[in-house]
């Protein structure tokens, strides 16, 4: 069944995420990126950021947490067996650092019904504890019918 376009504009409650250097290290290891900005505390202290920072794509950790309630939303009722990640876009603003608290919100910005598939676009916006934007992610999913 096609995803109803009435859900364009639907939002979900904001999610708060406390960043820590150990999680940054774990993520950096997973993407095989041992840049000292992410993993070497002594180097990071001397860098212009003054502490461990997260790789830009670390935003999928707090942004990804937003996707779960959407995927399992009873009203939206997505067929997860048929869902694939189609496109991804990130805009990075202020760098995410160890001990930041990130607050993220998600909104459906578009639903397109095609003959054999639906295209669902979700915008995730994340801000730090200073209220400044850190990342905007545009997640596009394709759900085959």
């Amino acid at each position: 069944m096609a995803i109803d376009t009435k859900f364009i504009g639907k939002t979900w409650p904001e999610i708060s995420y406390d960043v820590c250097k150990e999680k940054i290290r774990e993520y950096a290891k997973a993407i095989k990126n041992p840049d000292p900005h992410f993993v070497d505390e002594a180097f990071a202290k001397k860098s212009k950021y003054g502490r461990i920072i997260a790789p830009p794509t670390f935003c999928v950790v707090f942004g990804g947490a937003l996707m779960e309630p959407i995927f399992f939303d009873n009203e939206l009722n997505l067929n997860l067996m048929m869902l694939v990640h189609g496109e991804q876009e990130f805009e990075f603003f202020e760098v995410v650092k160890d001990r930041d608290t990130i607050t993220s919100t998600a909104k459906i910005t578009d639903i397109v019904n095609k003959e054999k598939l639906d295209v669902l676009t979700i915008e995730a916006l994340s801000k730090n504890q200073h209220g400044r934007n850190v990342c905007r992610g545009i997640y596009t999913f394709v759900v085959r019918k």
């Binding site: 997973a30 993407i31 095989k32 830009p56 794509t57 950790v61 067996m81 991804q88 805009e91 990075f92």
Partner: protein
């Protein structure tokens, strides 16, 4: 690392998708979709085994850019279309080129292929601060 970011500059990077990469990535990202961690499930849904998370491959692309700039904070935009699944033991090559430099930003085009020449991501672009 790039000395100076100018139009026409190029760079290249490579990553091997080792046997357990999708498991590491699932743990770090929280994405435990069975298509990434369960070979039997992957076969059942016609993928021929597990496939790597598209966002992990995009993480490799981001690394190629931030290694090249030397400052992870300079990456300002990144986008792609996931074209073909990445499988375990694939070798991913990222080839970057600066298309334009203006207004304090460089626009990059990135070609992301695996060892058999397939473009695993298409329309891959990035913007970095210069």
């Amino acid at each position: 690392m790039a000395d100076k970011i100018t139009k026409g500059a190029t760079f290249q990077a490579q990553e091997v998708v080792d046997k357990y990469r999708a498991i590491y990535y699932a743990g770090a990202s929280g994405d435990f979709n069975p298509i990434h961690i369960d070979p039997e499930f992957g076969k059942m849904v016609g993928l021929g085994g597990v496939i790597l998370h598209g966002l992990c491959a995009l993480g490799f692309v981001a690394k190629s850019v931030t290694d090249w700039t030397g400052d992870p904070g300079k990456l300002k935009k990144l986008r792609c279309r996931f074209a073909t699944p990445v499988h375990i033991e694939d070798t991913i090559t990222v080839a970057g080129e600066v298309l334009d430099v203006s207004g304090g930003r460089a626009v990059l085009n990135l070609k992301v292929t695996r060892h058999n020449g397939d473009e695993v991501e298409k329309n891959v672009t990035a913007e970095v601060e210069v």
